[in-house]
């Protein structure tokens, strides 16, 4: 059978220079400061397909407990697919996903959510016919919680996003795009995740709120120790709050390093960071 790593794909020229590092996991472990830390997520050699199309090829990387890790890459690189494989929405054809050393590869999405891995999907998939508050409450159904605790979580979300409080009784379908995005993030947080998978959280948010979102992510990580895997187009901002970053290119991980290092990497600057703002 053909070696999947050798299946021809169109490599973009800019990237041929970049050395492919296969064992990024051990690398992430070795990086200073995290020696003792466990890996919350260990992704090894994942292949994923949509029908005949191979979307992921031997994707491997690690997410240390308590860290923020950014996953970068161009349109169609496979970032969303990676998150969907982790949360069980897309079948992994090969490879292994471990959550604190426990094999969770291809478990059902409900089981994975119960374990505390929660995904905030791309493009705000809120329940359109439910109100803001109902949407938020649904987010907490994966955990056992008293009503008092639940309303405490609600309050927390409302302090993060005052706009949601104003619109709490409105059905989600008629919210503005940015309000829906806030709602999707809030709903994810209601489940008290151990690992939060965020797919483009800043999508459609006003610059002033984008800043707040990154602050919230940073704070959440620092205060509650929530591990965060972040997919973002706003690469500069994402790397600035992250500990590590990985770059996906046509379904493969091509680079992985500490965030500061990536921020200064010339190739990455050219491809993803641009002028920034």
């Amino acid at each position: 059978m053909a070696d999947l790593n050798n299946v021809a794909i169109d490599e973009k020229i800019d990237w041929s220079k970049i050395e492919v590092k296969p064992e990024l996991i051990s690398r992430a472990k070795k990086l200073e400061g995290v020696n003792e830390q466990k890996l919350a997520l260990k992704i090894s050699n994942i292949d994923a397909f949509y029908g005949k199309i191979q979307a992921l090829r031997r994707v491997s990387f690690g997410v240390p407990e308590g860290s923020i890790v950014s996953l970068l890459g161009a349109n169609g690189a496979g970032k969303t697919t990676t998150l969907r494989v982790i949360s069980g929405l897309v079948h992994a054809a090969a490879g292994k996903i471990e959550f604190f050393d426990e094999d969770i590869t291809n478990l059902s999405p409900e089981k994975i959510t119960r374990k505390g891995i929660i995904q905030v999907p791309e493009g705000r998939q809120v329940f359109p016919e439910l109100t803001v508050e109902e949407n938020l409450k649904i987010g907490s159904y994966s955990i056992k919680q008293s009503n008092a605790e639940r309303s405490k979580s609600l309050d927390m979300i409302y302090t993060f996003f005052p706009k949601l409080k104003q619109r709490r009784a409105q059905v989600a379908a008629t919210l503005s795009g940015g309000e829906q995005q806030m709602l999707a993030i809030g709903r994810g947080l209601m489940g008290k995740p151990r690992v939060l998978l965020l797919d483009e959280p800043s999508l459609g948010l006003a610059p002033i709120i984008v800043k707040e979102i990154f602050e919230i992510i940073k704070m959440l990580n620092r205060e509650t120790g929530t591990t965060i895997l972040l997919v973002e187009q706003n690469a500069t901002k994402a790397l600035k709050i992250s500990h590590f970053g990985f770059v996906l290119e046509t379904g493969r991980v091509t680079i992985g390093d500490k965030a500061e290092v990536l921020l200064n990497n010339e190739d990455i600057k050219k491809a993803y960071l641009g002028g920034g703002h």
Partner: protein, 382 residues
């Protein structure tokens, strides 16, 4: 003898179908088309005891295609589709019996008048969405049922369409010729003591000529409607309906008059149901409300769900499988004393199918085909 022949034939049919589905390369397509054609036209001659089930499978395929156009392609529900089916049957009967319009023309006129009616009724009720539309169409069915009971029934007290207006009369001459031949052989055998070996077989056929003719007429109409729906779906109207189903707001902004096109979908699907009703009237020869009860709408809905929402193949596969299972297969397999359980078994079969192939058989087959293709190209490991 003929019972075994039927089974062999049906198995050949299924195998043929699966092969055609999986290997639809341009080079093999023609061959399979020819084989399928041969299979279908020989089918009624192998299966006289199955004819009524086969005919009703074809008829229901037409009905299902009409409803699927509305549900799968335009995204609008109707729970009272049997109403149009019934009206088509009555319209055909009235036109041919009372007004003396030739049978085939009265079927077409019946279909057209039902579709105009649906178009008009559609204007108010298609403003409703989802459950509400479901309930409104249910209400429509009840109204029509009452009209049948209180008005139309008096026009056909015996509920039967006289033979001269049915298919039976069309094949009279063939029937007569065959019977004459058989009688002659029978007479000759008195002296020679031998009958041609196909005598019994031909006798069987002769007694089923109207049903066989019904088979071919229904098949022809089904074929024409498949062509019509297929062309419709790949051109302007079909795409506009798909647009309404997937995003009303975008379709509107791009110039699709939503209200008009929903009406068109409703009208078209009623036209198809009306034609099916007309076929029913001239092949079965009775029009009474018992044949068009609310449950008919629900069966058709089940057929679409089993076969595959939004696909032509889905309508036909769903209807055929359902009717054959319901009218023949379960009853043949089940020992005599358990016959009463047939309906329950049918229910369980439907539930199982919905559990294991929730998107319908067509979708399941596509998945299966994809897997085979992946295996061939060496993609999937393990």
């Amino acid at each position: 003898m003929s019972a075994i022949l039927v089974w062999i034939w049906l198995i050949i049919g299924v195998v043929l179908f699966l092969m055609a589905f999986i290997k639809d390369t341009p080079s093999t397509k023609k061959t399979y088309k020819l084989l399928a054609f041969l299979f279908v036209i020989t089918l009624p001659f192998t299966a006289t005891s199955w004819l009524s089930a086969l005919n009703s499978a074809l008829l229901y395929s037409i009905l299902a295609m009409g409803l699927n156009l509305l549900l799968g392609n335009a995204g609008q529900i109707s729970l009272g589709h049997a109403a149009f089916y019934a009206l088509g049957a009555y319209a055909t009967a009235i036109l041919s019996v009372k007004a003396g319009v030739p049978i085939l023309i009265s079927i077409i006129l019946g279909g057209i008048s039902v579709s105009i009616l649906a178009f008009i009724i559609g204007t108010p009720i298609l403003r409703l969405k989802g459950h509400f539309l479901g309930i409104a169409t249910l209400g429509l069915h009840i109204v029509v049922e009452n009209i049948i009971k209180n008005e139309l029934k008096h026009m056909f007290p015996g509920a039967t369409v006289p033979i001269k207006y049915t298919v039976t009369s069309m094949v009279d001459s063939i029937n007569y010729a065959l019977r004459e031949k058989l009688a002659y052989w029978d007479y000759v055998s008195l002296t020679s003591g031998t009958k041609p070996f196909i005598f019994n077989y031909l006798q069987d056929i002769a007694s089923n000529i109207p049903a066989i003719a019904g088979f071919f007429i229904t098949l022809l109409v089904l074929y024409l409607i498949v062509l019509m729906v297929r062309n419709l779906l790949k051109t302007k109207v079909g795409r506009a309906l798909g647009g309404i189903r997937d995003s009303e707001v975008a379709a509107r902004t791009l110039g699709v008059n939503i209200a008009l096109y929903k009406n068109i979908a409703f009208g078209l699907s009623a036209f198809i149901a009306g034609i099916a009703g007309g076929i029913f009237a001239i092949t079965i020869g009775t029009v009474d409300e018992a044949s068009f009860m609310l449950t008919v709408s629900l069966y058709v809905l089940a057929m679409i769900v089993i076969g595959g929402v939004g696909t032509i193949q889905g309508s036909i596969i769903g209807a055929t499988l359902y009717q054959l299972l319901d009218m023949k297969i379960i009853k043949t397999i089940l020992p005599q004393k358990y016959q009463a359980l047939a309906l329950a078994i049918m229910g369980i079969a439907v539930i199982l199918m919905i559990i294991f192939a929730p998107k319908g058989i067509v979708y399941m087959l596509y998945q299966f085909k994809l897997k085979i293709m992946q295996k061939k190209s060496g993609f999937v490991k393990k």
